[in-house]
Symmetry: C3
Subunit: 199 residues, 3 copies
Amino acid sequence: MTLFQIIDFIGTVSFAASGALAGVRKQLDLYGICFLAIVTAIGGGTTRDVMLGHVPPFAFTEISYFLLSIATAIVVFTFQTQMTRTYTKLVWMDAVGLGLFNVTGLTIALSSGVGYFGSIVFGVITCTVGGMMRDVIIGETPFVLKQEIYATACIISGVVFCLMHYLGVNMQINMMASAVLLFAIRMVTYKFRVHMPSV
Amino acid sequence: MTLFQIIDFIGTVSFAASGALAGVRKQLDLYGICFLAIVTAIGGGTTRDVMLGHVPPFAFTEISYFLLSIATAIVVFTFQTQMTRTYTKLVWMDAVGLGLFNVTGLTIALSSGVGYFGSIVFGVITCTVGGMMRDVIIGETPFVLKQEIYATACIISGVVFCLMHYLGVNMQINMMASAVLLFAIRMVTYKFRVHMPSV
Amino acid sequence: MTLFQIIDFIGTVSFAASGALAGVRKQLDLYGICFLAIVTAIGGGTTRDVMLGHVPPFAFTEISYFLLSIATAIVVFTFQTQMTRTYTKLVWMDAVGLGLFNVTGLTIALSSGVGYFGSIVFGVITCTVGGMMRDVIIGETPFVLKQEIYATACIISGVVFCLMHYLGVNMQINMMASAVLLFAIRMVTYKFRVHMPSV
């Protein structure tokens, strides 16, 4: 198992867990909890793939994301009472995955010919649309639109990625650096309760 | 008119009627009621088609689904006071259509190369996404995520369909048998108030 | 700058402003306000493009719509207290853009081979889906489904456009006439508080 796969695994589990926990909180049944876990984990990447014409979307041919999301949902459903205190752990795991998902979205979009600006947007779509679907489906205002530095961290990391790409930095190094940067921004701003300006 | 077309007709009318009734309940205007009827009837198949790259989606080239949905919406709007007691009849009609919609989704997905697992998911998408759009648009938690055996019945029927496909059973017989199985599961679990486990 | 571009500019700004104002009302942060402005401005055209297989969608290769939406959002965010009395002005600007967006949707759909009926639907999708996304994301029943003559004005204008297209009227004249007609229907029905029938 490569480092890349381990990070992908951690990120997918944390996204799926946040979906499953939302389903538990909303008192959905087991199907609903699995559905929310899957949508949260693969909703962003699927939206990106469909908008770029990569069909069927990755998660429908590489089914390990589905299986991992369902397994996560069942664990959350079974041990729900013990799960409520894991929120901070989830934020950390989520931030680890976030860095990878963002550079994955950036790389796929760049190779699909949408340019730097569009690629940054597709990085954000990959990272945030799954969670927005989760929140809209359970009737809540999407978390990402109102607090913490989440999408903005993706944008900053995306800008740095594109800059390094433009300067010809080695792709592997660029992806690694941009992912670590995103992780750092997310955790530091989370720790110090930094928010975007609001009304 | 073939048996296939009659079942398709019954299913489309029942999906459209559930959308129109939701619109009436939410006090939408005539456009809103027609819109909800259309989205409920064709939302699942349209999502499937777009995700598999079959564009324009079937309902935009074969307009009878639009016309049937609009006609259903106008009937519901006109006779709304008499409609409130038809819920159980709708559940039956819905279950008839469900079996067909599921095998249609399965067949299209299989021939698009997503394999057995992905095809079962696209059967569920075909059957449930229209109703989920209806519920999310009117601000309710999607019915399918919290009670009764609906998506799960699609999954069971999909597994049986794929198993028979793998064993080389005649396609016509397989579709018929899987559709009848779905109808049976849905109506028996509805009648005896079987639910998925929940919190 | 052509007349076409000026109208496109006015329409995009008015759509983005309605999204940004909804974000301010819902107390989103600056990212959320920008996001809602973008989704409202490009959501309809993006949905149309993806459903017709035109990927990446126009707004992801022609980034001026993104930049214009973000600029509008920042202006609304900065001058929000002065903005509350501009609603009627926004309705006028919106109606100007509406006529253009509808004929754009009609023209693209016609040339994608969905026929007259499908093209009228894609005109409506272009004009209304962005606003519906805005409303669903902030948890409100979509405005377009419950009051005023909005989608219906698009449909009437679309029918007239298709009729003139069928009769061989010059395309430029047809687009201009259909856009003006839509503007007229929208403003007259708004002024005289005409609504669709409802429950």
